[in-house]
């Protein structure tokens, strides 16, 4: 039964031999948004997507505790049966208001938001145009839809245009799907150019702002706000499990009749809704996010400092500074050794290996938080640079290692 995973089993056993298995890390205790205890050792967390550091925000915790005590631990039901409480309705209103949209639907996770929305929007005769570096949830959503799926080159509006031209005479709606910030390298979509292609070709545009909500834009509305194209974005998808510090996903839109998706989206209908405590903490997190632009400024400062520090040290990184900063390596075994050595020095980052990575690179993926101190960032740059030199990735012996 599991024989088809022999190659994965072999990779896993290789990882175990190299030290701690990066894919089965279990923290003993979370001490703060930026520190934890792991195997008895205190580590700085530099790979949590906790962009604004809101996981321990007192007002969010208080809102969750209050809902937990008054409404219980879970809803035990679907949104279309017994699983919609006033907390879910309030959260949907909050999402719509924050994004300046008519409607919003909340899903139990961000993964389910993409699954549920894409599968419901795109039918058998429709066409989905996916950026080649799309997240797994977008690929999975496209497979669940019965639509015809076409990929275009990552972040390449001309290539998208070319493919839409081939599809011009085919019947059905065309839905372009892109992300705000891409999770592996932290690169940003050329959204104004994509919006121009959308306008010219009559396609629809969905933007997944999972990593950019609360991170980009003067008000935190994501890349669509920075690019000034909110009116061109037909569907905004996002998650509550990054900048908002909890879990859940959403889709917001101005499209008339959007409500019908509540009885058409299977990932919305056939799963239990999020616990009311989660809805309450996320609603409060939106308030904090709106009231505290200083968090976004701190995040940007930390991201810039980490990117510049590692760039100066000589590492190959993503194309632009963003809260996701990835050290790009070619050899997986070197990346695994690097990851283990960082952990030994008290720094936790994410390890991303092919085929889940663009261009089959091996990545030490870090993500920065507004809650990191300047000292945390300095510690991280020093630790990464020092292990990089030890392994010959930067400094005089570069060629030998890479």
């Amino acid at each position: 039964m599991l024989g088809k995973y022999a190659h994965l089993a072999q990779s896993l056993s290789g990882l175990r031999e190299a030290g701690t298995n990066p894919f089965t890390v279990a923290f003993d205790e979370i001490l703060s948004p930026t520190t934890a205890r792991l195997n008895g050792q205190t580590v700085v967390l530099l790979g949590t997507n906790n962009y604004l550091g809101l996981t321990f925000d007192e007002s969010c915790i208080a809102a969750a505790v209050s809902a937990l005590e008054t409404e219980g631990t879970g809803t035990t039901g679907s949104r279309i049966a017994n699983g919609t409480y006033s907390a879910h309705v309030a959260l949907e209103k909050q999402v719509a208001t924050f994004l300046g949209r008519q409607d919003a639907m909340v899903f139990t996770t961000g993964y389910q938001a993409n699954l549920g929305i894409m599968a419901a929007l795109a039918g058998r005769d429709d066409h989905l145009l996916l950026d080649a570096d799309s997240h797994a949830s977008i690929y999975d959503g496209s497979r669940l839809s019965e639509a015809q799926v076409t990929r275009f080159r990552h972040n390449d509006p001309d290539d998208l245009y070319r493919r839409l031209r081939y599809l011009a005479d085919k019947p059905g709606d065309k839905l372009i799907v892109v992300e705000g910030i891409y999770s592996m390298l932290g690169d940003v979509a050329p959204l104004a150019e994509f919006a121009a292609v959308k306008r010219e070709t009559g396609a629809y545009l969905l933007v997944d702002e999972a990593h950019s909500l609360g991170v980009l834009g003067e008000h935190g509305r994501g890349l669509q706000e920075v690019a000034g194209v909110e009116a061109d974005v037909d569907f905004v998808v996002g998650t509550f499990s990054k900048s908002l510090g909890s879990i859940g996903g959403f889709c917001a839109s101005d499209m008339p009749g959007f409500e019908v998706l509540r009885v058409a989206s299977r990932a919305y209908m056939f799963t239990a809704s999020m616990p009311p405590s989660i809805a309450a903490s996320v609603t409060q997190a939106f308030e904090v996010m709106a009231a505290r632009p200083d968090l976004r400024q701190a995040l940007t400062r930390n991201a810039e400092a980490l990117y510049q520090g590692l760039s100066k040290a000589g590492f190959r990184l993503g194309p632009t500074p963003s809260p996701i900063v990835s050290v790009r390596l070619t050899k997986p075994e070197l990346a695994v050794a690097f990851w283990n050595k960082l952990l030994a020095r008290g720094l936790y980052v994410n390890l991303a290996l092919p085929p889940a990575t663009p261009a089959r690179e091996s990545l030490l993926r870090t993500s920065v938080s507004a809650a990191h101190s300047e000292a945390d960032i300095r510690f991280a740059v020093d630790a990464i640079a020092s292990v990089g030199e030890e392994l010959g990735i930067i400094g005089a012996t570069v060629e030998a290692a890479e």
């Binding site: 066409h127 080649a132 015809q148 990929r151 290539d159 070319r162 493919r163 081939y166």
Partner: protein, 88 residues
Amino acid sequence: MPSEEDVIATIVAVIRTLDGVTPAMADAVTPETNILRDLSLDSIAVMDFIMELETAFNTVIPLDTVAEIATVGDLARAITTEQARTAA
């Protein structure tokens, strides 16, 4: 409309550019070559291969049709059919 032979020649030219495909492997390609097995392509490599082919042939090959394509010959027929449909 290009002949199936021309289409296969272009497919082989694209195969030559793929990561992990040696010149010897590309030279050995025939219409019977199995894309996954003989070229050792994983699912992501296949999707990238399809994207390159679409560019080379100025067409789209919907990913849902890829499941039915096993050999280079199947692929050539799928491309020819798609081009004929677009030209019609």
